[in-house]
């Protein structure tokens, strides 16, 4: 079976600035992959190209063997780094919205997760705290049976308790046949759930290896190894 993600010579420039430089990357199915790099390394740019929100300057990315489009959007569940919800919407309306557009959306799973967090479905999103809005967004994303979950900085800017909840939600709700690509610079928090890691620096992939392989070969945690590779 073809990899869920194939990047071939993927390049993105903004004027003279190179955001991604000749990225070649294959991501296999059924894996949790950490896209790790410091701020400004090109993580979000790569993710946006996979989702069709940015057009590459050169090269191409294939999701399930197809270029980003309607068919790939049916199979990707994407959590951006920002809140994309309409503030006037009720939580219930948001659930209906996802149900209307994504055939793989599981309503019962969404309501179950909302109930656990005691988020009333009739509540308007504008009345929720920033942290709760982020959780609602995560619940919507993880309630899909997607082939690929792309989570951009899901634990940035939240307290440690919320981080635990987020990671727990990710690990317990994803489609086991699918893959998760999680971008972050907070390695120690996500290290334990990762099967593979991709280190990205100045728009180039500097390492793509198994998490266990790093721990075995380098005799240090992924977090320690990351600090070594990205030392200023």
């Amino acid at each position: 079976m073809a990899p869920v993600v194939q990047c071939m010579g993927l390049t993105k420039t903004y004027g003279r600035k190179i955001a991604l430089n000749q990225i070649n990357l294959n991501l296999e199915r059924g894996r949790i992959i950490g896209l790790l790099g410091p701020n400004g390394s090109g993580k979000t740019t790569l993710i946006k190209i996979m989702n069709g929100l940015l057009k590459p300057t050169a090269g191409e990315v294939l999701i399930n063997g197809q270029r980003p489009g309607v068919d790939t959007k049916l199979r990707i569940s994407y959590l951006p780094e920002r809140t994309y919800l309409q503030p006037g919407m009720k939580v219930l309306e948001l659930v209906q919205y996802f149900q209307d557009f994504y055939p793989d959306f599981r309503v019962d799973r969404a309501f179950d997760m909302l109930a656990r967090l005691q988020i009333p479905p009739q509540e308007r999103l504008k009345n929720l705290s920033k942290g709760t809005k982020e959780k609602v967004q995560l619940i919507m994303v993880m309630s899909r049976d997607a082939d690929l979950y792309i989570l951009d900085e899901p634990i940035a800017g939240v307290d440690p308790a919320a981080r635990d909840y987020i990671l727990h939600t990710i690990v317990n709700n994803y489609n086991r046949c699918g893959s998760i690509l999680v971008s972050t610079h907070l390695i120690s928090d996500v290290e334990n759930i990762l099967d593979e890691v991709v280190f990205i620096k100045y728009g180039s992939i500097v390492l793509h290896a198994g998490a266990e392989q790093i721990r075995r070969n380098e005799r240090k945690s992924v977090d320690q190894f990351f600090r070594e590779v990205f030392a200023c």
């Binding site: 929100l53 057009k55 959007k73 309409q86 006037g88 919205y97 557009f101």
Partner: protein, 269 residues
């Protein structure tokens, strides 16, 4: 998916825009009451009720402008935030075709522009109806106009086609705003400024083309008017044909521009 997109676009806009139309109704009612009260007091002396009526009528006129301008600004803001702002991250990751996104936005925005226009026209007609003299004159004028147009062989077909041309002109206006906002996205840093610059540029080009058309039309009309074949029927026929053609061409050009940026050059920050 087009139906679903339209449903959610309508849901996202109806509350505020319906409120604007309710304001129109309320202000019309208030203004009518005041006009009635003014009629009761006579014109001999200026009293408190007259002062209040004048103030209410000023507020009425102001609120009509506010509804028109407010609706336009809201629809532009809605297009921008939902397409290229944070909400664009959800919209552009939905499994829907770019054509459907554009069509849904244009149809719903155009519907609101037409609803607002009709509600304001009805409001003014309703207000004038309180003054029997003005209303009777207006009705007589309309009857005369209909008789005159009938005598000049202006068919129902021409009237319908004129209405269709008018609807296309609204689509074109909405699409023009969408195209300018989209073209502004091609700038890496000054997106809004570039959108505004595109709007001004397109407006200037449109005015130039319109002026050229008028000059040419007047030149040929003068020639035709000296012949025996001049009549208003043929004049109106030419008007709707030109308006419809201009509307369709504008729609196609602005649609293609919007689709090109949204589908081929999308770069969400």
């Amino acid at each position: 998916m087009l139906g679903k997109l339209m449903k959610y676009e309508w849901k996202a806009t109806w509350k505020l825009l319906l409120s604007a139309n309710i304001l129109t109704v309320v202000m019309t009612g208030l203004a009518r009451c005041m006009v009635y009260l003014m009629g009761q007091t006579g014109h001999s002396d200026f009293r408190m009720v007259d002062f209040m009526a004048v103030m209410v009528l000023f507020t009425y006129v102001g609120s009509m402008f506010a509804v028109c301008i407010g609706t336009t600004i809201y629809l532009i803001h809605r297009f921008y935030t939902s397409t290229y702002g944070d909400q664009g991250y959800l919209l552009h990751t939905l499994p829907v075709d770019t054509h459907h996104i554009i069509i849904a936005k244009v149809l719903v925005s155009s519907a609101w522009v037409i609803i607002n226009m009709v509600s304001i026209y009805l409001s003014v007609i309703f207000l004038l109806a309180t003054s029997s003299e003005i209303f009777h004159s207006m009705m007589e004028g309309m009857v005369d106009m209909i008789e005159y147009l009938g005598a000049e062989r202006i068919s129902a077909f021409t009237v319908i086609m004129t209405l269709i041309a008018f609807i296309f002109s609204i689509f074109a206006k909405v699409l023009k705003v969408g195209a300018c906002i989209s073209l502004g996205q091609l700038s890496p840093n000054h997106k809004l400024l570039l959108s505004f610059a595109w709007y001004v540029g397109i407006y200037v080009v449109e005015q130039m083309l319109q002026s050229i058309y008028f000059v040419v039309t007047i030149y040929f009309q003068e020639k035709i008017s000296h012949s025996d074949y001049w009549n208003y029927g043929s004049y109106f026929d030419r008007q709707w044909e030109t308006a419809l053609l201009a509307g369709i061409i504008s729609c196609v050009v602005y649609y293609v521009l919007t689709w090109y940026v949204m589908g081929r050059k999308l770069n969400l920050d």
